[in-house]
């Protein structure tokens, strides 16, 4: 009747088996949790770049606002942009133009042609911007006049702080009808 008698070899072996599988489960859980714990710093290290934003950090000073009070022609400014790339930092110069917006206030446009990326130049004799590559033309306020470009000149984020005009340079995709930043 008493099937659980401690002398029964069958029950003893199953008891040992029970202890063994309990230890086995303990070992498995312990090892797995240790591995999970150790994989946290590994994952943080490997995924680190995904949490960093690329592109220009900070703003470029274009000078005091007084230099942009009479905008009957564009004012060219060279901005230095820094592009972080891992432990390296690439420094390049880009040209921007300060031009009047519809209210006569200064706004900043990129000199990069929205067609295929050539550098648009102001032609004093024609009183318009001309792209030297494929002949796109733009008005003083950056509006597209003629030629292959699909949109106006790209306006850049800008702001006024402590009496100075600042802009942040952004690369935009070419050929599109709307402004879309390059990642």
């Amino acid at each position: 009747m008493n099937t659980t008698a401690p002398t029964s070899p069958a029950s003893e072996s199953s008891e040992r088996g029970g202890r063994r599988s309990f230890l086995g489960a303990l070992i498995a859980v312990g090892t797995a949790s240790m591995a999970a714990l150790l994989s946290i710093p590994l994952a943080r290290l490997a995924l680190f770049p995904l949490r960093r934003r690329a592109g220009q950090e900070g703003w470029s000073d274009l000078g005091p606002l007084e230099s942009f009070t009479r905008l009957d022609h564009p004012v060219a400014r060279q901005v230095t942009i820094e592009q972080p790339d891992g432990w390296e930092r690439a420094i390049t110069q880009q040209m921007v133009y300060v031009i009047p917006d519809s209210h006569g206030q200064p706004k900043v446009v990129s000199s990069v042609c929205p067609h295929l990326g050539c550098s648009v130049q102001w032609r004093r004799d024609q009183q318009r911007f001309v792209c030297p590559c494929h002949g796109g033309t733009f008005a003083l306020d950056g509006h597209r006049l003629a030629g292959p470009p699909a949109r106006d000149m790209d306006s850049l984020p800008h702001r006024i702080q402590d009496g100075h005009l600042y802009c942040r340079f952004v690369f935009y995709r070419q050929l599109l009808a709307s402004q879309e930043a390059v990642d």
Partner: protein
Amino acid sequence: MATEIQSAPPPAGRSGFWRWLDRRTGIDAALHAALDEPIPGGARWAYIFGSGLLFIFLSQVITGVFLAIYYVPAANDAHISLAYIVKVVSAGSFLRSLHSYGASAAVVLLLLHIIQTFTYGSYKGRRELIWLSGCVLFALMLGMAFTGYLLPWDQRSYFATAVGTNIMGEVPLVGGAIKALLRGGSQMGTLTISRFFVLHVFFIPAGIFLFIGLHVLLFRKAGAAGPIHEDPLAPRLATENFYPRQLVMDLLFALLLVAVLGALSYFFPVPLGPRADPANTTFIPRPEWYYLPAFEWLKFWPGRSGLIGIVIVPGIVIGLFVLTPFLDRRLERHPLRRPVAMGSFGLVLAAVVGLGILSHVQDQRQPAVAAALAVQEQQMRDYMREPFHPMLLGAAPAAAGASAAAPAADILARGQALYTSRACIACHGAGGRGTPLAPALAGIGARMSADQIAAFLRHPSAKAAKTGMPAFTGADADLNALVAYLRSLK
């Protein structure tokens, strides 16, 4: 007739999935073979060092592979990429410290493993090959420590390796060749890093994997030797299987290692020193602690006697150590009844430890040296406190290195003016460094001839034209100036 042959009855409660898996993989039999290894005399804490070493090795492989995500083995990049890991990347300093402390822990565990197996006479009873494969692993591990130490390319690692490779150069006949082969030339430089890196991550680890396999295979063939009163050839003691008690002990030890190394790495991260400056004549090189005994030993052998210190005495000691199972052949295992073997072993061990301590004491006794070493420590701490400074690209104009063969400066100036006015700069960037719109042109002089560049500018390839590259229209003199400027970009 049984329809299924099994070495052990399947424990009750096996799930259907497990049976499915076992029929396809034989996992039950594999686990049985791996875990049910009989240990004469039962599980003991004395046996944990071997598996501890295996655990540290795996940890080194994993942390090393992850560090390699960012590390670049070249003289210009090695130090700054590691500085980036240590100062910028999340968990970078922690994992690099874990890797560095792991190397020290491996040396400590290796010594404990050797002391345990030597004292227990575990190399006796047809176990010579286990011992020999272990000796190879010992050498490979010291090779890992030596090659890995250079990779940070900071002051400490650079000068320690310069001294280390110079010492190898002292070996008669082959020394010069070994030194040149390791350095990739007569001087330390970018070739040295890349050779050390390849040794550290490919060649030596491959050897370690191979010899760990061999070591374990031979160990399983001979069987565990058991305690000192066990007969190494015909075990008499009752056995206990590796699983579960010995495995639990091994895992608890691994847990202890993780806790200690993790706490050290977290609270005392390993510092990185300033970038190696080969021109620095005042730096006092000191090797990592486990090479201090060898460093101190060599001070005793000035000039021509170096042959004795570098080759003869170490050769005899290493030879005796490697040949131990062939020299100490009696089956007697009790350490007290093996006075010659244990005596020599203890002597060498004491000499090694003594030399290490002596090296430290001598540095402290010489005020000038102690002060200089303290300054070096301080420089390292100062460097760690500095924020990370990225490597600037394109900041300096490409004018450097104007030689007699270089085109006249006015042609370059004219070319540079054209580069801006013809709007090349808009897409290819200042100094030809490239932008997201068009590739970099720096270094193009090495890839294309002047004629090729001129032809391309006049008639861009279809692919280039499609992405907005215009054809150059203008005088040949202007074209030549532009080509000269492009070829000057570096």
